[in-house]
């Protein structure tokens, strides 16, 4: 069966549209409100959405996303809740492919094959697990993804060597997540020099679409990313904006306005 991510990315390509991938931490600030945030993102033009499974020790996340992880756990969110959440969301938002972003220890505890099977059954299209480097088999992660029709999305960073770019490009499914900088997640003003060169190095080894993430937090960043990659990833900025709202309605309005402004369709 065709993966929805492929169909979405092919559609964006044929219409000449730069894609947006948004991100939420499932259960932040609680399950009901993160559901409404998810729907707002989908309504405001997100083409793909990452659902992060909250984890106690998110090694690659900056303060914004890490705090959201810890708050979701404090609110009592369990992995089983995340699967139920995903299944409902995939049913509602049939036009927006959903991915799970999770640190390895969650699927490792759940059972790697069971995690892949249940993700696919819930309607998830791909997995992003930042702490599985290609050298580690991680209980057959990649094979289980492929067996269940999930794209194993791998990450490359400007610090990745030529050899690693080649290796990871050969394993990746769906698209490759390129970090715009060597750093942790978080909204920033500065972007790394040499980005164009990094993207060219990746393109030399893959025909897959590229998503550019880490630190993308303004329309200007997205315009710049559009010249480099097929998709921009908006992560921490959404949570930052959400946190600034005086009420839930205000929070959702800020997020929606921001997302629309990225495509230039804002008032």
């Amino acid at each position: 069966m065709e993966n929805k991510i492929d169909r979405k990315l092919a559609g964006l390509k044929s219409s000449g549209t730069h894609g947006l991938m948004a991100h939420i931490v499932v259960g932040y600030p609680d399950l009901a409100r993160s559901e409404r945030l998810l729907d707002t993102l989908a309504d405001s033009g997100a083409d793909l959405i990452e659902l992060q499974v909250p984890f106690s020790d998110p090694l690659a996340d900056g303060p914004t996303i890490m705090t959201a992880n810890l708050k979701a756990l404090e609110a009592g969110v369990r992995v089983a809740d995340v699967f139920r959440f995903a299944e409902k969301a995939a049913g509602r938002l049939s036009g927006v492919p959903l991915l799970f972003m999770s640190y390895l220890n969650i699927p490792f505890n759940y059972g790697m094959e069971a995690f892949c099977r249940d993700s696919a059954a819930a309607g998830i299209c791909g997995l992003i697990v930042p702490d599985i480097p290609p050298e580690e088999t991680a209980e057959g992660y990649r094979g289980h993804c492929l067996d269940h029709g999930l794209h194993p999305v791998y990450i490359l960073s400007p610090s990745s060597t030529e050899q690693r770019v080649r290796l990871i490009a050969s394993l990746a499914g769906g698209f490759i997540y390129c970090t715009a900088m060597v750093g942790i997640t978080g909204a920033r003003d500065k972007q790394q020099a040499g980005l164009q060169d990094f993207i060219s190095r990746v393109r030399a080894h893959t025909g897959l679409p590229l998503a550019l993430g880490f630190g993308i937090s303004s329309r200007e960043h997205v315009l710049r990313a559009a010249g480099l990659a097929e998709v921009s990833v908006i992560g921490s900025k959404v949570i930052d904006l959400y946190n600034q709202g005086a009420s839930e309605e205000d929070s959702l309005g800020r997020v929606s306005g921001f997302l629309r402004s990225l495509r230039g369709s804002a008032p």
Partner: protein, 417 residues
Amino acid sequence: MKKYTLDSFSTGGHFGPYGGMYAPEMLVPALQELEAAYLEARADKGFQQEFEDLLRTYSGRPTPLYLGENFSRRLGGARVYFKQEGLGQTGSHKINNVLGQALLARRMGKKRLIAETGAGQHGLATATAAARFGFECEIFMGEVDMMRQRPNVFWMEQLGATVTPVPYGTRTLKDAVNESFKNWIENLEDTHLLVGSALSAHPYPTIVRDFQCVIGHEVRSQMMQAEGRLPDVLVACVGGGSNSLGMFYPFLGDEQVEMIGVEAAGLGIGTGRHSARFQGGRLGVIEGYKSYFLQDEDGQTLGTHSVAAGLDYPGIGPEHAWLHDLGRVKYTGATDSETLEAMKLLMRTEGLIPALESAHAVAEAVRRAPAMRPDQLMVVNLSGRGDKDIFIVAEALGDRAWMEFLRSKVEAADHGE
């Protein structure tokens, strides 16, 4: 004969099923660079010589192996020796690894050292080495640990380090480890992450172990000199596991030498308030390595407890996990109260003040020595001295005069303002 050692550089950092390099992609090139630099340094006689010289002239090695005759007589069993790591520069074994890694960082052209710390001993050692070698230095420490180990925070700052409080999660060692990793990711160019225990992603567990092996090598030759034979039992506390591995590793091939690692049983295993990974933990992959972790059914790390900040951590070094499964090292636990009792006994019989971490090993000696014969030899690693624990111990023992002293100090300071 079973094999208890392996070349982790040929297994991708795996010890059997444990260890590995489960790091985000942006860290992998830095870890590989560190691996290459270390292999080069390890083979360089000049590097090794400089390391040995520093240990001798700066840190005061070899540290003594001392026969505790009074302590042994009181327990009425084995002859108990104490390896006095607390007599080294900065008061614990941490300095061994720190000096080695500082030399390595200098060789790699790094300008800045960062480190995580729990009890503050590793942070103190790192701040000391940074001062000695002219590195910038930032130490990450959980807010809870800063509260309970204030003297070390004070000295780190006096040595010129920035101590950054970590307000996230359990606000202890685990969270400090996370923060130091993140800071490293943001500053790979000029910064060396100086991991303080035999854990984290490959190559750290092996590098730290190698630099700590000086403990075991010394014990071996000191024991041969004192008794003309190898010891029967080695005992050490196990947080992440560097002092224990440093002492055990050179003896792994000597099957007649029994080895005991002592975890922090906190308020008791049954209470759930402890840090004993082999008694309450399960397999997991967290903070870059696969090992036993205290975690819930979903894989979220659990809050840990120990009176000793340096043992208050949910994971254990991967080589320990492997040695545990092989049955080469036995792991037990000592509770907070057993530890305090053992500490008192050692102070009264020998005049030695062990760190609370090390006192866990002493507690195991108290349990085990009486059942041994007087011709049997035990070595307990006193990985650190206890000066830093004065506030915790005084509070735990309910020392009223000390509390009044603190109050008077605060009042005097208030009047001075």
